[in-house]
């Protein structure tokens, strides 16, 4: 079966999960502090996570197409529909932008004129970290990505319907892919600086963009593996074999190690350099978030490294489902750790707790207020999990809704035959 049918019971299930997410978000909003920090940081966390998965899917497609890869053709429709989520992603991030302009939230230290006025470091960075650049950067860059996603998806669908033997559609697809690689590679760094790294506005790391993109990458691979296995379990995509699963598993394995490499490179250089304004980022996380900090490494490095190391585990559906769930939650956990401590700091300062001393010291001193457990910040609580499920359901509903409108297997892709015969082991 190459035509996915989005059945009504799946729709009801996903709508129910979205409803759960909405209920959790409303509950978060109600039990929150006066600034609604927990609600807004959950919103940012999940929006960034799923928009990033959509971006990586587009990047993977562009990279594979440019590299003359053939094996992925049978699963490329999944990535094409994933990448279309950049359009709802633009809306989600638009809500954050509205929040900045309307002062609905205090996620970003630098967006607060009162904080900037008495803070030399924020003043020094204000040429980039300001509302205008945040808005322009997000709208323009995400808009360009979404345009590429929409354009490439359209070419691919046209190829299905009117593909010709001169491969003109594939050639056009290849041009757009090659064009997206430099665009995506450079602009993703800027968006990560604005969306995530600027939460800890005093701190910066040149490795951060790579590290966060690697986190998105593994999450995207994990979600792809889960979707492929789900579709296969329903009887679709019969031609996607354990060989394709093996290769997807290799990407999840390889990029888990790549993520660890970047995580460690960032950590060790800052630890070794021992410069106070840099080490505070990790000091804070080690002191107040030790379970999150070490758990992050266990979920995203130790588990995939030892589970996926062998050949045969990457070819078993059960093991791949388990590992993919670990990795998807693990990288969501990773983004939690990137976002929450900084947001908590800023909120404490705005609320006037521990902000004595003002300016630089005030920002650091606020950290000591976090020494006890704070629901939704120190650890993801049930409300965070519910919000995650809601966003995941939204993502999947969108993806399945788009997937239903096209063939699951691109029938006129010139690499389709190569993908059908893809064999990696045991040859």
């Amino acid at each position: 079966m190459n035509q996915f049918a989005f059945e009504s019971k799946q729709k009801i299930f996903l709508l129910g999960a979205m409803g759960l997410g909405v209920v959790c978000m409303v509950l978060t909003f109600l039990v929150d502090d006066p600034l609604h920090t927990r609600f807004w940081s959950n919103f940012l966390h999940n929006s960034v996570f799923f928009t990033g998965i959509a971006f990586v899917s587009l990047f993977v497609l562009a990279a594979f197409t440019t590299a003359y890869s053939g094996w992925h053709t049978l699963v490329k429709r999944i990535w094409e529909t994933y990448s279309l989520f950049l359009i709802p992603g633009l809306i989600l991030m638009g809500v954050i932008i509205l929040g900045i302009w309307g002062h609905f939230h205090h996620l970003y230290h630098w967006a607060d004129p009162a904080a900037v006025a008495e803070d030399e470091i924020l003043q020094g960075k204000s040429a980039f970290l300001n509302k205008n650049w945040y808005t322009i950067g997000t709208v323009v860059i995400l808009g360009i990505w979404a345009y590429f996603a929409w354009r490439m998806h359209r070419i691919s669908v046209q190829e299905d319907l009117q593909g010709t033997s001169d491969f003109s559609h594939h050639r056009r697809y290849r041009y757009w892919s090659a064009a997206f690689l430099p665009v995506g590679a450079f602009t993703s760094a800027a968006l990560i600086w604005q969306w995530v790294m600027s939460i800890d506005a005093h701190w910066y790391s040149t490795l951060f963009a790579w590290y966060a993109t690697a986190s998105w990458f593994v999450a995207a691979m994990a979600l792809t593996i889960l979707t492929v296995i789900f579709l296969k379990a329903l009887g679709y995509m019969e031609e996607v074999s354990t060989n394709h699963l093996h290769d997807l598993g290799k990407y999840a394995f390889a990029f888990s190690i790549f993520w660890t490499y970047l995580w460690f490179s960032q950590y060790m250089l800052i630890w070794y350099g021992n410069v106070g304004e840099e080490t505070i980022y990790f000091r804070e996380r080690l002191d107040h978030y030790p379970t999150m900090f070490y758990g992050n490494l266990i979920l995203n490095f130790v588990a995939p490294f030892f589970i996926l190391m062998r050949n045969d585990t990457k070819r078993k559906f059960g093991t791949m489902v388990l590992t993919s769930i670990i990795l998807l939650l693990g990288h969501w956990w990773d983004f939690f750790l990137m976002i929450k401590p900084g947001v908590y700091h800023t909120a404490q300062e705005v609320l006037g707790h521990g902000a004595h001393g003002g300016g630089e010291t005030g920002h650091d001193a606020a950290g000591h207020a976090a020494s006890t457990f704070h629901a939704g910040f120190t650890m993801p609580g049930l409300l965070e999990l519910g919000t995650f499920i809601g966003f995941l359901a939204l993502f999947l509903y969108f993806v399945f809704n788009r997937l239903e409108k096209v063939s699951l297997i691109p029938p006129n892709d010139p690499y389709l035959a190569e993908s059908k015969h893809h064999t990696v082991w045991p040859y």
Binding site: F264, Y267, M268, W271, Y272, N274, M309, T423, P426, Y427
Partner: protein, 173 residues
């Protein structure tokens, strides 16, 4: 001990793969197969069991990791403690790059030595090459004919030429 080898040379790997399947179907005992480059599906066609070399690689890697980490721990906490840049004696993050590199070194060198030992290749060993064209463009299917009767030999020869071998030879190695 000298062996008498009866072998056929093929021009194409697809023909060779078919010949191997046929030989296994008719229960002929293949001594070995030689190809100028790795042929996909060859070990599967020959029915070889999975190599255990990677397990040795894991063991060597684990030994390397432990060696490096425990050695540095011993040096910097017991034997010769020095403070570097105000860090503690037992500075785990600083040990990790070296631990990683020694792991790779042990795994790589260990696997090479193991592989060469299994293949009986040491410095000074002169490998017995059945035919030099095997290293260029010929694919070779070899039978051990040391203890074969005359009928068995003619059966092997018949099999080789009927399965597409362009040449059939006998050689003592």
């Amino acid at each position: 001990m000298q062996k008498e080898v009866l072998y056929g040379l093929y021009d194409d790997e697809e023909v060779l793969l078919k010949a191997i399947s046929r030989a296994r179907e008719s229960h002929m005992n293949i001594m070995d197969v030689f190809t100028p480059f790795p042929v996909h599906g060859l070990e599967h066609a020959m029915g070889l069991s999975e190599s255990r070399l990677h397990i040795s690689g894991f063991v060597y890697g684990a030994i390397g990791a432990l060696t490096a980490f425990l050695f540095m721990t011993w040096v910097f906490t017991r034997d010769w403690p020095i403070i570097f840049g105000g860090k503690p004696y037992w500075s785990v993050p600083a040990f990790i790059p070296i631990t990683f590199e020694v792991t790779v070194l042990f795994a790589a060198v260990g696997m090479v030595v193991t592989f060469y030992t299994i293949c009986g290749m040491w410095p000074g060993v002169k490998p017995a090459v059945l035919d030099e064209r095997i290293t260029d463009d010929k694919f070779c299917l070899a039978f051990d004919a040391t203890h074969s009767t005359e009928e068995e030999r003619s059966a092997m020869e018949g099999f080789l030429s009927s399965s597409g071998a362009s040449e059939v030879h006998t050689k003592n190695v």
